[in-house]
């Protein structure tokens, strides 16, 4: 029977592959194990081996062409066979990335496939791995966890297990799924450049540890690579006089303490100032949308929160309408929820501008990567005590904060960014302005 060779699914994230080069030509005899072609996936270049013998009767895809997983590549005929009349490549495979569920349904086909690809570091593709390819270790997962993982499209090989002996149980799969939903939707996909193959690090010593990527880490890796490589970033920075801010905070906190209220952090003021500045400079509160620019009518203020295995950016809704106290209370609540992984989608989706503050770690200054589809991220450093030249020309001790902006030049030009930064500086140096 003629055997159709299809684009194999060679990695779990693979939705399409590029046929780099046919090694066998039409009319060549093929033995089991012969290399038919070289295929490039989102991860690596691999050799596609024949799993059946015969004659390569037809190829439907030429060198360099990128096709969807499952699309017909070639036809292999056995001895004395002729090609069936209707043997045509499936032209219109759905171009949307195949969902995991349909991958799972395709499993029987995959198993019947005549050609599989040999890849030294990966076993034959399966919807769910039962063994860690590199260590060769068995993935311990309960039967129920496997079923649920197939359904939700969750990879088991990098999940921490909380069942007996570290076994992955249903709850682990469900929470990984929820986490992934959280991180994925926090940075909606705008473009999909093919990720360059990773140069594999050479082992250095016996003490090296291989850490499998979790769902969140995978997303961070993909989204930030995409942001940094596809968004034309440019950077602005300024140093602000933090003394008025420190004093105001002290006054407010003394009053709050007396009243039994919780204290404000410096970051609360920066969030408030960012919300006000973004409403004053609306061009900075916008997104690039291909043919258009969307200028937002409200400030959906995202705030980067470090959590155990990554970070999330919960969103303060309509921050331009909220008081300092409201913002302070809300960010506290959101950060706690983020750390306990209890954020709901509506609490981390749809941010329009982000603040990332590493001041508490003692960082002087830095430039964060833009959180797409937003166009601007504010990076905040620590309050530094340093000598400053005052209005009278004398060198006096001062307290300073470095504020930096990373801007998407497609949306925010230098002048707009500068205007936004100046507004931010004005508000923070005269913080009473924010309270009126």
């Amino acid at each position: 029977m003629p055997i159709t060779i299809e684009m194999p699914k060679l990695s779990d994230t693979m939705t399409e592959g590029t046929l780099l080069r046919w090694v066998k030509k039409v009319g060549d005899n093929v033995a089991v194990g012969d290399v038919l072609a070289e295929v490039e996936t989102d991860k690596a270049t691999m050799e596609m081996e024949a799993f059946d013998e015969g004659t390569l009767s037809e190829v439907y895809v030429s060198d360099g062409q990128t096709v969807q997983v499952g699309q017909k590549l070639a036809l292999l005929l056995g001895a004395g066979e002729s090609k069936p009349a209707e043997s045509k490549p499936a032209e219109s495979k759905p171009s949307a990335p195949a969902s995991k569920q349909s991958d799972a349904q395709k499993k029987p086909d995959t198993e019947k496939k005549a050609a599989q690809t040999k890849q030294s570091e990966s076993p034959a593709p399966q919807p769910l791995k039962t063994a860690d390819a590199e260590s060769g270790q068995r993935v311990k997962a309960s039967p129920l966890a496997r079923k649920v993982a197939t359904e939700l499209g969750v990879q088991l090989d990098d999940l921490p297990g909380s069942g007996p002996g570290g076994r992955i149980i249903r709850d682990d799969v469900v929470s990984a799924h929820e986490n992934r939903a959280q991180t994925v939707s926090q940075a909606p996909k705008t473009a999909s450049p093919s990720a360059p193959a990773v140069v594999p690090p050479q082992p250095v010593s016996q003490q090296d540890v291989q850490i499998q990527l979790g769902g969140m880490r995978r997303t961070i890796a993909a989204r930030l690579l995409e942001a940094k490589t596809t968004i034309p970033h440019f950077y602005l920075q300024t140093e602000i006089d933090a003394e008025p801010l420190v004093q105001l905070r002290q006054q407010l906190n003394t009053a709050n303490e007396a009243a039994g209220l919780s204290k404000f952090t410096i970051n609360d003021f920066i969030l408030k100032a960012t919300a006000v500045a973004a409403s004053h400079v609306p061009k900075a509160n916008a997104s690039f949308a291909g043919d258009t620019i969307v200028q937002y009518g409200s400030v959906q203020l995202a705030c980067a929160v470090a959590i155990d295995d990554g970070l999330v950016t919960p969103v303060i809704r309509d921050a331009q309408t909220k008081t300092l106290s409201q913002i302070s209370a809300e960010v506290k609540d959101l950060a706690a929820k983020a750390r306990s992984k209890k954020l709901k989608p509506e609490q981390y989706q749809g941010g329009t501008i982000t603040v990332s503050n590493l001041g508490s770690y003692g960082v002087d200054q830095f430039f964060a990567i833009i959180n797409p589809p937003q166009s601007l991220i504010v990076s905040v450093g620590a309050i530094l005590k340093k000598p400053v030249v005052n209005a009278a020309g004398a060198i006096v001790p001062g307290q300073r904060i470095v504020l930096a902006l990373s801007c998407d030049h497609r949306v925010v030009d230098g002048a707009i960014g500068a205007q936004f930064l100046a507004e931010l500086k004005r508000l923070l140096e005269t913080p009473a302005l924010m309270l009126v």
């Binding site: 129920l144 079923k147 249903r170």
Partner: protein, 458 residues
Amino acid sequence: MKCDLIVVGGGPAGYVGAIRAAQLGKRVACIEKERAGGTCLNWGCIPTKSLLRNAELYHLLQHRASDLGFRFDNLAYDWSKIIARSRAVSDKLASGVEFLFRKHKIDNIKATASIPEAGRVACKGADGKEQILEADSILVATGATSRPMPGLPVNGKTVIDSHYAMIIDPQPKRLVIIGAGAIGVEFAYFFNAFGTEVTLVEMLPNVLPVEDTEISVALERALTKQGIKILTNSKVTETSTTKSGVRVTVESKEKQTFEADCALVAIGVSPLVPAGVSLKLDPKGFIQIDDRYQTNVPGVYAAGDIIGPPWLAHVAMWEAIQAVNGIFSAATPKRLKTFPGCTYCQPQVASVGLTERAAKDKGIKFKVGKFPFLANGKALAAGEPDGFVKLLFGEPHGEIIGAHIIGAEATELIAELGLAINLEATHEELEETIHAHPTLSEAVHEAVGNAFGVAIHI
């Protein structure tokens, strides 16, 4: 002397927790005011299983001998010997626990303990000698005791609790048992098998109220057939001791009064909280703990019956191991989720996971599979055709969420299903596992098949 861990109580939670800590290389002392082994080994699980074995054999010989082709005259039993055997089994096992203490170099201190403050335990021996022990951590495993019935104090003669019931001599002719949980039901079976006239009173609608209702109903039928008078939905409203015994008034639809030689109170247990530092308790008086089994007093932990239901030895042992692992490592100990429950009357009852009732209450979608022992070859060959296996599977994935067995050896058959639930097995794994033929375990396999339309023998 300073220890790494002092365990207060030498029952299943206490001695197991002490041994676990010793395995981890810790210096451990275990303080127990009576003999090591706790209620389970001395006055609970173990001695009653000895008594029930006698009851089971006597019942078999008395009622089934001719079916089985035995013929004899003057079948008789020696009540005192039956009790003595039960005590001897306890003695043997208690000395086994003492041996384990020595083997693990655990200081086994016979004394009453109190905890004046975190890190210190005051011991008072039977001879009145007092000493203070110090340790970084303290594990409270003081357990529970029979809950007294208001108005019917235990006197050891006409009003007894489970402790007295297993050494009562002579055998009572008429017995009223108040409470049809596992303890009440087991004693009802035991005394009835030896000819005591037993009335079993339960306030709730069914005997073994925690079990699946279908199982409880089947058991009621079996026990009634054996001659036990069962009154469910019935409340004891009046009690009095008489010259010859006890009078118990029970109200259900109508009011009935029973005269008996004695009444066995089996209405649950009360906590035995150690004296000293004030530990935070729940409304029923059991010690409240956090995720690490720690009480409100830092450094003082608790496990076993003293932290509340289910009051089961195997749960207590598991909790103690979890607690001790948590004390000596950073790993978060686990809290109880799934545990088997067993009742050793005949037919036996065993279950693990959710009852049909609980699954419905939780709004879980599920499928039921059942298989009667009547259609199982081994059960017929053994002359044990009563009972059935009932399994609950979650939908749509077919994971097993509950298992309920009534019948011979039910308590041994349940282990497979505990493993299945713990490993989150689905019907496919059970289905694909070959169960030896002929065994009672085939009934489990067939109940799985029944739920998914592939049972062969039904």
